[in-house]
Amino acid sequence: MVIENRPPVTKLTIPCGVTKGPSRVTLVLHNLRKELMIYMKQLTLLSPTAILGYGFPDSSFERGLSFGPDVIAVDAGSTDPGPYYLGAGKPFVAQGAVKRDLTYLLRAARTMRIPLVIGSAGGSGARPHLEWCRDIIIEVAKEEGISFRMAVIPADVPQPYLREALWDERIKPLGPVTELTEADISDSTYLVAQMGIEPFIKALDGGADVILAGRSYDPAVFAAFPVWKGFKEGLALHLGKILECAAIAALPGSGSDCMVGFLEEDRFMVEPANRERRATVASVAAHTLYEKSNPYLLPGPGGDLDLYQTEFTQVAEHRVAVKGSSFRPKPYTVKVEGAKKVGYRVITIAGARDPRFIEHLDEIIAGVEERTVGNFQWEKGKYKLMFHIYGRNGVMGDQEPHPSMGNEVGIVIEALAETEELAEAVLGFARSTMLHFGFPGRLATAGNLAFPYSPSDFKVGEAYIFSIHHLLSLERPDEIFPVTFEEVRS
């Protein structure tokens, strides 16, 4: 049986910032309704925000809860912000922002007695990210006086394990990358693999109220609970693919607003919690394209999500239904990610307004580069120097179709070197050389560059690059994702 556009049955308002919880009667009603809906084969999933710590409006979250979700799930990670965060073991969302979101989520999940699932903890989902997020959860639990059973699932791949996998030829390049080498493995600071739904299911089997996972395949964070409840994997994963970015799939889109998913036997529906947004066929179908190479076949752990038969239908003003998506099992593989340190980066930011300087800019850059090479000849091969020219082709480089310049340009000079001292020395030399560089017809002999700051040079710190982006075959889906349980008591 399927219920169309059902109104929220139980109006459940979670007091955020207020200590009083919903009444016992409300809770009993909510739980009865929940059992009934599962019996009738409909599950409700709440995705509060695109990335844990990106936030959401109170009113959206409350309305999301009023649908009586069976689970709250949130993705906390991405490789989009680049290799630094994985390589350095640092989170890319601020501690305070993550704590704010977790306070709402933990309070709501424990009041409603529904699981809270968090994937790709701390952004990159390696050990330090996981521990960082676990500390925040425990801090919130103490402050809020709530207790729960938490499953923690690390996603780190031990170097010896990966070396063995390399010898056993269980690892292969994913996309345009080269074959993995032993050096890639030993040079990587952190190595993680994207887990599928199976370790989450193990955590649910073990009675977890809160699941905190390291690096995860984004849709798995949402699909695990429904699959555990007996729903179809294809639809659950496709729903997860849409929910993992929360209201980004709505119109107007937002990365900091809630999305609600309703999963049934043969279809699912999505609706933004905020009434100012709508899910439309165009917005939801377009999101299926997002960040993927091929929109019809989305590869993930253990198989492909097949969207060849997928149909999107507008079933209400704010709600879209999706059916036809299926899961095609394949030998079980997971994506492994790693990053390695390549040195230190120092930059400077400057503007230039002199038309003659701008006219001769390419010669000037070539001249500064030549002087730098000469000045640091004994450090050859230990550093790299680059000029980003904003106002000409700072964004697209040599792919810029209109590399013309206006009245002024912005210049970022970047030095990357084996040591921070060398990066500073090279950058400082290039900066001062460019500042006073002579060129034909120069009138402004006091200096070529306008610096907005003192100091003019900035230490960016350690620089990393991605070192591993490969597929690893597993014998068992949870082979490298050990699930541990802890009782959080306040």
Binding site: T79, D80, A286, S293, T310
Partner: protein, 112 residues
């Protein structure tokens, strides 16, 4: 010929993982989409020419009916965050598409 900007409601680029850049063009309505798809005005060679890369760098170039969209995915110039990076998220690489004029079927077609 018609400017792509007139026909599309979304023209965007984004990383598809750290090694690939993906282009999405979502057309304003199904009629426009079907017409573009029928004339195959967008394909791997158009994208390769526009971005000045060999066609072998274009991994997929595909029409996606459910979203009235054309999608092309290419190798990134440098992997996300490597030395020489200009756009970590790859979200501002769509400008060449804004200049593109595409085949628009027969000029005397009553629909044009």
């Amino acid at each position: 010929m018609k400017s792509l900007v007139e026909l599309a409601s979304v023209i965007r680029t984004k990383n598809a993982g750290p090694y690939e850049l993906t282009i999405d063009v979502i057309f304003k309505d199904r009629k426009i989409y079907e017409r573009i798809k029928k004339s195959n005005s967008l394909d791997a060679s158009v994208i390769a020419r526009l971005y000045g890369v060999p066609e072998s760098d274009i991994i997929t170039a595909i029409y996606f009916d459910p979203a009235c969209a054309f999608k092309a995915t290419m190798n990134r110039k440098v992997p996300c965050g490597d030395f020489g990076e200009k756009d970590i998220y790859g979200a501002q690489q769509h400008a060449p598409l804004l200049d593109l004029a595409v085949q628009w079927g027969d000029e005397d077609d009553s629909d044009s």
